[in-house]
Amino acid sequence: MSYLYIAYAATWLIHITYLVTVFRRYSRLKKEVEQLPRK
Amino acid sequence: MSAPSGITLVTLTKDVRLEWRSKDALNSMLFFALLVVVVFSFSFDPNAEESRVIAGGLVWVAFLFAAVVALNQTWARELRNQVLDAYRVSPAPTNALFLAKAIGNFLFVVVLEAVMTPLFIVFYKLRALGPAWQLFPVAILGTWAIVVNGTFFAAMSLRTRSREIMLPLLLFPITIPALLSMVEATTTILVGDPSTSAKFWIILLATYDVVFTTGCLALFETVLHAE
């Protein structure tokens, strides 16, 4: 397969992986916020 | 200006005396470096021509790893009995403490190099074809480069988990230009090709030393007080 397409795919794979980790942390944090006692 | 240098000298003398009595760091460093030399000898069995090309790299890698062994326990002794806290509270300038530690480490590593170099010469049948006297500034400037940053990062690693791993992890990337210079300078001197000169590398090493010694002195107080 062409190195060109692998390179482009790899770029987006790296970016998407990072964004997924950020988003996951965000969801987990949101759940924690809901558990904080309301004052 | 006599007070800071007085403190430096006193701390330095204390460290050297303590080390001389126990010889902990010195022995472990020496043994470690010797092991590295022997293991490398098994992996490469060079004749005199080849060994001159690779010896530069091997020697400095061995010294670097041995120095890390010493640097790791630089501050450990101060942590026991809260000596480090006493330093932070005292009016003594923190730079004096840093210099004392750095110079102490420098002396230990230089002693190590002095002992290991004959061994290297024997094991790899080394003989410098270039100007051998240039090896002295390379050794001094190079060792100081490793030691000054190493002492600083060792202080930084005090407040981290996995302290022993943290020091090389922080130290190695930053010292890459210095390492490259040391290795290239040593190889140039050993191989002795008349069209090449180690001068650029020596100047680069000197620049590196000036830049980072200034940086360490400027930021050490901040790092020491970070609790």
Binding site: I14, Y26 | M156, R161, I176, A226
Partner: protein, 288 residues
């Protein structure tokens, strides 16, 4: 503010798609390398973006360190102004010493831009905000740097037959990557309450190291020459056009990623602070 995010996200996605189209279809095919050369349109903008992010990290780290003390803050501000002025004057005074494509006006503009950025950060970011900015730009910078280090060999292999060469650009990028990964590791493993200070000190050291890394590898390469990945020399103006479009697209993308990461970190710290307060004020009312 929050409403802008989805709109910007959509615009960025459109821009990235357009840039991709430009890179794959519109850009002319390179004579010697063929289609593989198009990796260039992702490789180079990622590198420039990573360098920009690391530069912002350096400014934020310096800012964090100097702002702890009102005296150093003032001195630092003056130093920045003086350096900017010196760059302007120096660019014109030493114009003959500049490399071929570098104009004195670019040098001056860069100096002023960096100083301007420093003061902008100083004005709009609080002390904690500066620290979060440093962390964010380091992380996102490492991500872009990883892209550079992955696309580089993927380009080198079909063109030069080797995966890696210790050429100056790839090697200095690798060292930069190593330095900033060690920065992130320090952040994660530090048990100190003053982690931001330690990390900022490390960032300053890393930045001081960068020119030394560059020169050492440059001289190493002149001693042991090897093919340069990414080629040198002049560039076809149509290719430059596509390159700049891709860079703009990736800059917008990087901005959005940084913004998200910044918001996440800010939220994280707010939650931790609230939790700490909660722990102090247990139900029953007594402060422990």
């Amino acid at each position: 503010m929050k409403k802008a995010f989805p709109i910007l996200g959509l615009l960025t996605a459109v821009l990235l798609s357009y840039a991709l189209y430009q890179a794959l279809v519109v850009a002319p095919q390179e004579q010697t390398m063929g289609d593989v050369q198009r990796i260039f349109y992702y490789h180079v903008p990622s590198a420039w973006t990573a360098f920009l992010l690391f530069a912002i990290n350096f400014l934020a780290s310096v800012l964090y360190l100097v702002r702890r003390n009102p005296q150093t803050d003032k001195i630092a501000s003056w130093v920045v102004i003086v350096l900017a002025v010196l760059t302007c004057i120096g660019g014109y005074a030493f114009r003959s010493a500049l490399p071929k494509d570098v104009y004195p006006s670019s040098v001056a503009t860069t100096g002023i831009a960096i100083a301007g950025l420093y003061f902008l950060l100083r004005k709009y970011f609080s002390e904690q905000g500066t620290d979060i900015l440093a962390l964010t730009t380091a992380e996102v910078g490492v991500v872009f740097c990883t892209v550079v280090l992955v696309t580089g060999p993927l380009w080198a292999r079909p063109v030069w037959g080797i995966w890696w060469t210790w050429d100056i650009r790839l090697t200095s990028t690798l060292v930069l990557w190593l330095i900033y990964v060690s920065y992130l590791v320090l952040r994660r493993f530090s048990t100190s309450g003053e982690t931001p200070v330690l990390a900022a000190a490390l960032a300053v050291f890393g930045a001081l190291d960068v020119p030394l890394v560059y020169f050492s590898i440059w001289f190493f390469r002149t001693q042991h020459p090897q093919p340069v990945i990414g080629g040198g020399g002049s560039i076809d103006p149509r290719m430059l056009h596509v390159l700049l479009i891709n860079w703009l697209a990736f800059l917008c993308f990087a901005f959005l990623v940084c913004w998200s990461r910044y918001r996440l970190e800010r939220m994280q710290r707010d939650v931790e602070e609230t939790q700490a307060l909660e722990a102090l004020l247990e139900p029953g009312g007594h402060v422990r």
